[in-house]
Symmetry: C2
Subunit: 412 residues, 2 copies
């Protein structure tokens, strides 16, 4: 077995973490920003040092390819691909995304150092704008790669300052020539921190990810009437804030009642005029619902919508709803998922099968090739937070599972 070099992997994570470093130990490398460019340049430099052929595609995805034994002729042999992303949210951690990319490079380094040639090429990729913190939709690079979003639509996506993905790709020098998706992998495996508390809480070392929860994001805008908080009897109120609050309370009760992995969150909310002594005439808020079972997700959506309609009618508040995102659950390749589990168990690491609650590039890749994910614990489940942390031993354990699986896949 090729054994992952712990200090080497940790020092690469540390070095990439210095780019866009922010107070508290986190990173801010928003997609296609100067910091993202600096991070990309660093990782591309490492790829070249490792002898990888670096391909940049038209959405800025970067793929470093280590040649396999079989060079093939016109019918090129499909590579095994691993990777993730290196962009971050505004208050991101050091491991989210970066870990999967740098662990992939560590696998290449191990093979190089030991002079091992694999039958299939091995590709290490980082995809553009996974986070969606600056440009929507998130998972943009992998979505384009898998054919789910056209290039022109992706280029037109603009940030708050009206700078577009197309312009920013050109500006930072990552508008590549390759057609996204031209390389169809034999398999794709993504190693990632859990970004949730389950493994940490249960003291399990490796999460065997069976799929990704379906996501339903709806933005509601409620319009009532603003009135004096002292002089308006309760029965005459048309309080948009009250209706919004009742949705939050209902969503919590609904998730508890449905159980399983149903989750429901009201994360964003703003009231107008937002004054202590005025009944709010406007409430804008979001409802985030997720489930691995699409029928149950639809049930949750319908029940939240029915609740809002009922309470809004009673309060004489108008409701506008806008679907911001709707992804069906993704089920990873069962056989590849089994192999993640087997490799972890062979290393005597405790495992747990689980869905991913967060979106990942892997869910897009599953559209075009057998895909699986490996999770490692996040301390206290913190994510998108400068305090995001994974213990070194867990980082190494996950990288070792990845190495063993990738090498096995590459020998097929």
């Amino acid at each position: 077995m090729l054994t992952v070099d712990g200090p080497r992997l940790l020092s690469a994570l540390e070095e990439l973490g210095q780019i866009g470093a922010i107070e508290g130990g986190g990173c801010a490398r928003l997609a296609l920003s100067d910091e993202d460019k600096a991070g990309r340049d660093l990782v591309v430099g490492w790829m070249k040092q490792l002898g990888l052929a670096v391909q940049i595609d038209a959405i800025g995805n970067v793929i470093g390819i280590r040649a396999g034994q079989e060079k093939g002729g016109r019918e090129k042999i499909a590579p095994v691909m691993t990777g993730s992303h290196i962009d971050t949210v505004r208050t991101g951690g050091r491991y989210d995304g970066n870990y999967g990319v740098l662990a992939g490079l560590e696998v290449v380094r191990l093979l190089n150092d030991s002079g091992v040639e694999t039958r299939r090429p091995i590709a290490v990729a980082f995809f553009t704008n996974e986070e969606g913190a600056r440009f929507q939709p998130d998972m943009m690079g992998s979505l384009v790669y898998a054919g789910g979003l056209g290039l022109n639509e992706a280029y037109a996506a603009a940030d708050k300052d009206r700078r577009s993905v197309g312009d920013e790709l050109r500006r930072i020098g990552y508008l590549g020539r390759a057609q996204p998706g031209v390389i169809r992998p034999h398999a794709f495996v993504e190693l990632h921190i859990e970004q949730g508390p389950i493994l940490d809480e249960e003291k399990v070392r490796i999460g065997v990810v069976e799929g990704v929860q379906g996501i339903s994001w709806t933005e509601y805008s409620l319009t009532g009437v603003s009135n004096h908080a002292g002089t308006t009897p309760m029965r005459l109120r048309r309080d948009a804030g009250y209706v919004a609050a009742s949705v939050n309370v209902f969503a919590r009760a609904l998730a508890r009642e449905m159980g399983g992995n149903q989750v429901a969150t009201v994360g964003a909310l703003s009231l107008r005029p937002n004054l202590i002594n005025v009944v709010p005439n406007r409430a804008d808020f979001t409802v985030d619902l997720r489930n691995t079972d699409d029928d149950k997700l639809k049930e949750a959506e319908a029940r939240v919508a029915a609740h809002i309609a009922d309470v809004a009618r009673a309060e004489r508040v108008e409701v506008e709803a806008k679907v911001l995102a709707r992804f069906e659950p993704v089920i990873f390749d069962a056989s590849l998922v089994d192999r993640v589990e087997r490799h972890a168990q062979a290393l005597r690491l405790s495992t747990r099968r689980m869905p991913s609650g967060a979106g990942h590039d892997a869910q897009m890749m599953q559209r075009i090739c057998p895909t699986a994910m490996i999770f490692v614990p996040s301390v206290a489940g913190l994510s998108h937070n400068v305090k995001e942390h994974t213990e070194a031993a867990d980082l190494l354990a996950g990288a070792q599972v990845l190495a063993n699986l990738v090498v096995e896949l590459a020998s097929e």
Copy 2:
């Protein structure tokens, strides 16, 4: 009987409403702003045209005094005082405050035009910063006048841009020399729009105000833990936004259950980080509770506090509470309240006894002299809103009740 001159009163309201006029028909004359100064200058000019002796006190309250028959010696005879305020909220209406001041001047005009001398002097006052929209506390001028707030404390109150009441009074030329409260009125009567929907809904012309509801304003700051909305199971959440929502829903149910004139409002709320896919780790919100019965108000306060404590404990969210304002209910002078009712009924105007849900300068004046208020309807109860409106017939009816009561009081 001296009959109020309708067109003259309406035209004065119209002219004052032009100063700081904003789209939709309302006014923005925040206390001690340039617009407030312009409004003050206009009204002071009118006072002087009417021959009133204008006294400006050290908190900027302006009192125009029409001499009585008895000039008195060292023991001056106490004047009858009426008035209100002319500052507005940022999106204020044209009648809130202004109506009471200009109706007072109309009473003086009537007496002047008919050459009537009253035994007691008649004073028309406008008090500084009633609204509290720029500087806290609200009702500042009348509170200082009644001895409830020291001058230095009032001077130190600062707006968001750190400009203080003292500096702004000096800047606009309204830092007067008179000691606030030096004139102790025989009685104080304030005429005001209801700012609520009750009179309009019940088609009653005159509200006979028996007192002012007690007010309890509390700001809560809840601290939980921000976590990924997809990956964090419901049972592990520490969602500050959820606790805030449950308080809003509880407060509504509580007010309904307690009945009477108990009202409860969550008017201001902000979440952090306020992102669709992040469990809020922070919620800052306000609870506004009011009742005419202080024991019931205390009960409401205690039950809201107990609810927050319970839910926050279950959610493992920390609670900080800060009392922003707490005024006990005010009961107006019973005999003066009776006289308001009698004068309205003598004019064959329908009446209704009611509390004021809003705060008014009159509640401060009740501390130093017999005080009462006269309410006229607000269409649809809209207030602190550019659509605030009172029908002309109602404006005149209220002013006539005021005139008759003030003239009677001044003859005593």
